[in-house]
């Protein structure tokens, strides 16, 4: 779908980005690395990208958003915005994981890839990808010390903003840090979606968040056990 026009956004991890993809290339793009404050900058970024590319919302083919995993607040900021824009503009919406987006951005293609995203807790969010960058495991939350147990063996490249944490916890020697971007970028998200044969299926439910962790909530003592 070379001719697809896509508005893509991400605010699920330690960055905030918006991209407008049109006629096979990026028409406008904003990226800012920041851990907090996406609620403040995301919508002005969308406005700037739409203005710079002279694009109207109603003529978009669709909107693409990340759905997590990442910071709960950040992923909700992006997903709520994207879903509301899709509703308001009457255009379809698609969601991809931050892990998929980071995986697609890595230049190294010779072997398997592990993407690790910071969970802001003691565990990390990880997913394995094949050399062709197809998912080779489900996304999961795992303690860094246990990552070794899910690896296929042999050389592996690790990417993402928790890659260093994972690397430090691994005993095996044939692991290396990817030299690609560590954070998701809406430009990559837009490119992935545009490369699909049918990027937007309109009969689907809006994309749901991927938290990988239940909410922090304790039942009253008498209801436990």
């Amino acid at each position: 779908m070379i001719k697809t026009t896509i508005l893509a956004l991400d605010s699920a991890t330690d960055a905030c980005s918006v991209a407008l993809w049109r006629d096979g290339s990026l028409a406008a793009h904003r990226f800012e690395a920041r851990r907090h404050g996406q609620a403040e900058i995301l919508m002005p970024m969308v406005r700037d990208v739409m203005q710079e590319s002279a694009q109207e919302f109603k003529t978009l083919d669709g909107i693409a958003t990340t759905v997590g995993p990442g910071g709960f607040t950040g992923l909700r900021i992006g997903l709520a915005s994207a879903r509301a824009m899709a509703l308001a503009a009457g255009v379809p919406i698609v969601g991809l994981t931050t892990l998929e987006v980071v995986a697609a951005a890595q230049p190294e293609r010779s072997g398997p890839l592990l993407v690790a995203i910071d969970s802001r807790r003691s565990d990390v969010y990880v997913q394995l990808f094949s050399p062709e960058r197809e998912p080779a495991s489900l996304p999961m939350a795992i303690m860094p010390g246990l990552v070794e147990s899910i690896l296929p063996g042999g050389p592996i490249v690790v990417a993402g903003n928790a890659a260093e944490t994972v690397l430090q916890a691994l005993q095996q020697t044939d692991v290396s840090l990817s030299n690609g971007p560590a954070l998701p970028d809406a430009a990559v998200l837009a490119r992935i979606v545009a490369s699909r044969i049918a990027p937007f299926q309109t009969d689907l439910e809006p994309p749901a968040p991927l938290y990988l962790r239940p909410p922090d909530a304790k039942l009253p003592i008498e209801k436990q056990a």
Binding site: A39, M43, A80, S81, M85, A88, D216, A217, P220
Partner: protein, 345 residues
């Protein structure tokens, strides 16, 4: 003027469409009560997740039921705080997105101002008026001089009155949410059985305190060997009348001050979730009759959290040209009195 309002600051996901002639074209509320009930209170992360899951569908329903389209709207209003920040963010980002797509003004509404102005949606009430704002998180007396123009007469030194209802319900083993449970139990109870204190009564200001009342309930229950159904009913009724009498006494002082500042005739407005309580409404009606004040209480559905009041506050602010930027940062804490400074600056 037609405004879409969005409310998501606690455990209700709500959207409503209201016009400048005080017509509520739609008013949709999705209550998360069942999701929080097992925990005996609102769990912030559960609330935030639920708001995200439901908000776009609720907005769509509000638009459809109002028989309008997004392009018929003149503005998008959403609660910008105070409240549970995860939920406020979801509602505010939804509002920003719709405002940007349709190039409409955004109005970030202070949730308390939504309550404060709800009387003007329900009835023909002109500024200034005296407001008793009572909910689970707030307990304040204010003179309302206009949108964004609030003079605080007094507030609680410890618990909000709604909090006292919730804690009393817990002590009595009544189900969550506590306010309606206490009211229901009190219907069969004797309000004179237990002589609970009336904290602050007679003091020469407009402040409240409810922690002592809650402690008295706790002590009284501890002294009973068993807690029978009639004990629970009597305690609920005795607590409720004590709370109502404190509100009346404090409102009386506020009426005295309001008279000095704004003349002898005035209007007393009660708003917020606790304003849905029948005994409190009756007590305040009697106070207004004694003092010659007009009494206005919005219908219970506009007292508890709803989006119609947010849309209406949006109508009022938009009428004065008070709009907000797409970079607005939601505020977990946002006292009403700070609105005045924001307008002045």
């Amino acid at each position: 003027m037609i405004v879409l309002g969005i409310e998501s600051s606690c455990d209700e996901t709500a959207a409503a469409v209201v016009d400048g002639d005080r017509r509520i074209l739609s008013n949709i509320i999705f209550s998360q009560l069942e999701e929080h009930r097992p925990y005996g209170g609102v769990v912030p992360e559960i609330a935030a997740r639920s708001h995200l899951d439901h908000i776009d569908g609720i907005v769509e329903r509000a638009i459809n039921e109002a028989g309008v389209t997004f392009s018929d709207l003149d503005g998008i209003a959403a609660t910008g705080g105070p409240g549970l920040i995860g939920g406020v963010l979801v509602g505010m980002m939804t509002a920003k997105a719709i405002a940007l797509v349709h190039n409409l003004p955004l109005i970030a509404v202070n949730h308390l101002e939504g309550h404060a102005l709800s009387a003007r949606l329900a009835a023909d009430v002109s500024f200034p008026y005296l407001l008793l704002l009572v909910s689970g998180g707030h307990c304040e007396l204010l003179a309302v001089e206009g949108p964004g123009q609030y003079t605080r007469y007094g507030g609680t030194l410890d618990d909000a009155v709604g909090e006292a209802f919730d804690k009393t319900a817990k002590l009595l083993g009544l189900p969550y949410p506590g306010g309606p449970s206490v009211e229901k139990a009190a219907r069969n109870g004797d309000p004179r059985r237990f002589a609970f204190p009336r904290p602050m009564r007679g003091r020469d200001d407009c402040d409240f305190s409810f922690s002592g009342l809650k402690t008295a309930v706790s002590r009284t229950i501890a002294n009973l060997d068993t807690l029978s159904e009639s004990d629970v009913a009597d305690a609920a009724a005795s607590f409720q009348i004590a709370a109502a009498e404190v509100l009346v006494d404090r409102a009386q002082h506020a009426i005295d001050r309001f008279r000095l500042e704004h003349g002898p005739n005035g209007t007393l407005v009660v708003a917020g979730g606790v304003a849905a309580n029948g005994t409190i409404r009756e007590s305040l009606t009697a106070l207004a009759a004694e003092t010659g004040f007009r009494f206005v209480a919005p219908p219970p559905a506009l007292c508890t959290d709803n989006a119609a009041m947010i849309a209406w506050a949006g109508v009022e602010r938009l009428g004065l040209g008070l709009t907000d930027d797409l970079s607005f940062i939601p505020r977990p804490r946002w006292p009403l009195a700070e609105l005045k400074q924001r307008i002045a600056s």
